[in-house]
């Protein structure tokens, strides 16, 4: 036990080694030999164009697709850490015509908990406060805005107080203001609660501002490092091709983000 404990303390929060994913009936690997690690309390971004395999890396890390290689969270495989890893999918995963309140959505994330109903309610109230959705607790999820839905998904991931958060393009379907609120929240979680955050994204401007480490993915790991080192013209060409030019910009958030592809 002591050995496991010391290993856990020394190990990076996220460690991915030689991860390869090949879907059935496909000859080419979607992702091949991706290796990286991220320390506790840091924000890392898997950056790459659509179809580059960054979402697949994330799904493999969670065991949602079959893969070859090794994935560890604080030195442990995912099976033993289910509630220590939170996941925010790209979109609200449930058909919005299914009537469900915000509270009911979060209750479903607690179905495996042995807590009492009162304790579960307390957890829900607390996490909704954290993402600033307290007033929406009994609202229908279908009536929420894109940004509010994204924060609800974050709340679901946070309800178990995870040590690691994985977010798959959290800016999808969210307006500029919603994006900023989300990223500020993630920065606060990493700084104050030492939550390790890994995002899949193609938003270079936001990555430049919020990430500690960038992992450039185009089916394999193209490069990695601090945003200031990695985000240059040569990396951009590697990821998005010769015909495109990188444009960085300060974020005033009076506009909507377009794709950089």
């Amino acid at each position: 036990m002591a050995t496991t404990q010391s290993k856990t303390n020394r190990s990076p929060a996220i460690s991915v080694s030689q991860l390869t994913v090949r879907y059935p009936n496909e000859n080419e690997s979607v992702v091949r030999n991706v290796s990286f690690s991220l320390d506790r309390g840091k924000i890392g971004v898997l950056l790459g164009p659509n179809g580059s395999g960054k979402s697949t890396v994330m799904k493999a890390m969670l065991g949602l697709v079959e893969f070859v290689g090794e994935v560890q969270f604080a030195g442990q495989p995912l099976t033993s850490l289910q509630n220590h890893v939170g996941y925010v999918p790209q979109r609200y995963p449930i058909d919005k015509s299914v009537p469900m309140t915000v509270s009911e959505f979060l209750e479903l994330a607690l179905v495996t908990c042995s807590h009492t109903k009162a304790e579960k309610n307390r957890m829900i109230v607390s996490v909704l406060e954290q993402v600033d959705l307290s007033l929406k607790r009994f609202e229908k999820v279908g009536d929420l805005s894109g940004g509010q839905v994204q924060r609800l998904l974050l709340a679901r991931a946070l309800v178990h107080e995870p040590e690691v958060l994985l977010l798959d393009e959290p800016e999808a379907g969210v307006d500029a203001e919603g994006e900023l609120i989300m990223y500020d929240l993630l920065q606060k979680l990493a700084k104050d609660q030492k939550v390790t955050v890994l995002l899949a994204s193609h938003e270079i401007g936001l990555v430049r501002k919020f990430a500690d480490t960038v992992f450039c993915v185009k089916n394999t790991l193209v490069c990695s490092g601090a945003p200031s080192q990695v985000l240059n013209q040569s990396t951009f060409k590697q990821l998005y091709g010769d015909g495109m030019t990188m444009y960085g910009h300060d974020h005033h958030h009076d506009h909507h983000h377009g794709n950089h592809e």
Partner: protein, 278 residues
């Protein structure tokens, strides 16, 4: 209208009618619950395919002189188990496999019926239901199934709901997905079979699908969806039975049409409500 009600009251004195009524109530409540899961899983076609396939089970039962409800239950459950296995082996979608199994099972049922000696009026009653055909065995079957649902539901409902709504999240929480899938498929197959006598294989899906759709139009929470769907289902069944008796029409067909009318009224009501902004 008073004549219809009077006829209904007179019929209440007969044991066959009491049986049919009780079967209708039990079926409405069961289908109301299982139908919510079918509706949120977008598995309407699956319910339909299982129902149609039950015809093969019925015919096989009649052929071997076994209670047709029993053989239909075995056939429907076997089909429910076969589907996920076939999907894993072939990689085809559920829809494609259902489209394959449905005509094969229907064909098998019709062949088995044609091999039975003599004239078979049973075929029509199994296709479209018959109020008079509900037997004591059917009642016990329904009561047994209702007991299973009453015991299972408080234990499994929320986990089953999560598996039905968001499989990835369920997997991340460590739920054993195949076990919950199996429970759902079992409940669906048995509910469908239990309704075959009353409403028939062609119309049973109306029980499963229309009530949750009606409630989804107005409900604001899962709680409302789960509590109101069996109520709408019950109204459809009782209303359908009263009208079918009063106007001497086939029960299953009247229940399906009556439920359809409730849906149409519900859509109009929603439109008006949205316009007024209430």
């Amino acid at each position: 209208m008073t004549e219809v009600v009077q006829e209904f009251i007179d019929l209440l004195a007969f044991s066959f009618f009491q049986r049919a009524l009780l079967a209708g109530v039990l079926l409405a409540l069961l289908a109301g619950i299982v139908g919510v899961f079918t509706s949120i899983r977008k598995a309407a076609f699956f319910g339909d395919a299982v129902a149609h396939s039950a015809l093969a089970g019925v015919a096989i039962g009649l052929f071997f002189s076994v209670d047709p409800l029993f053989s239909a239950a075995v056939y429907a459950v076997a089909l429910s188990l076969l589907l996920p296995w076939l999907r894993k082996q072939t990689g085809f979608s559920f829809d494609s496999l259902l489209a394959l199994l449905l005509p094969v099972s229907m064909g098998l049922g019709v062949i088995a019926f044609s091999l039975l000696p003599g004239y078979q009026p049973n075929l029509l009653s199994f296709l479209f239901g018959n109020l008079l055909s509900v037997t004591q065995t059917d009642m016990f079957f329904l009561l047994g199934l209702a007991a299973v649902v009453v015991i299972l539901l408080p234990l499994l409902a929320k986990k089953l709901l999560l598996v039905s709504l968001d499989e990835n999240q369920a997997r991340l929480l460590g739920l054993n997905i195949p076990v919950y899938e199996l429970v759902y498929h079992f409940l669906l197959a048995l509910t469908v079979v239990s309704g075959v006598r009353l409403v028939g294989v062609v119309l049973i899906n109306a029980f499963l699908i229309i009530p949750p759709l009606v409630v989804s139009l107005h409900a604001r929470s899962l709680k409302q969806l789960f509590f109101l769907t069996p109520v709408v289902s019950l109204i459809s069944v009782l209303g359908g039975i009263v009208l079918s008796v009063g106007f001497d029409l086939p029960t299953g067909a009247v229940i399906a049409v009556f439920a359809g009318c409730i849906f149409v009224v519900s859509v109009i009501f929603k439109k008006i409500r949205d316009r007024v902004g209430v």
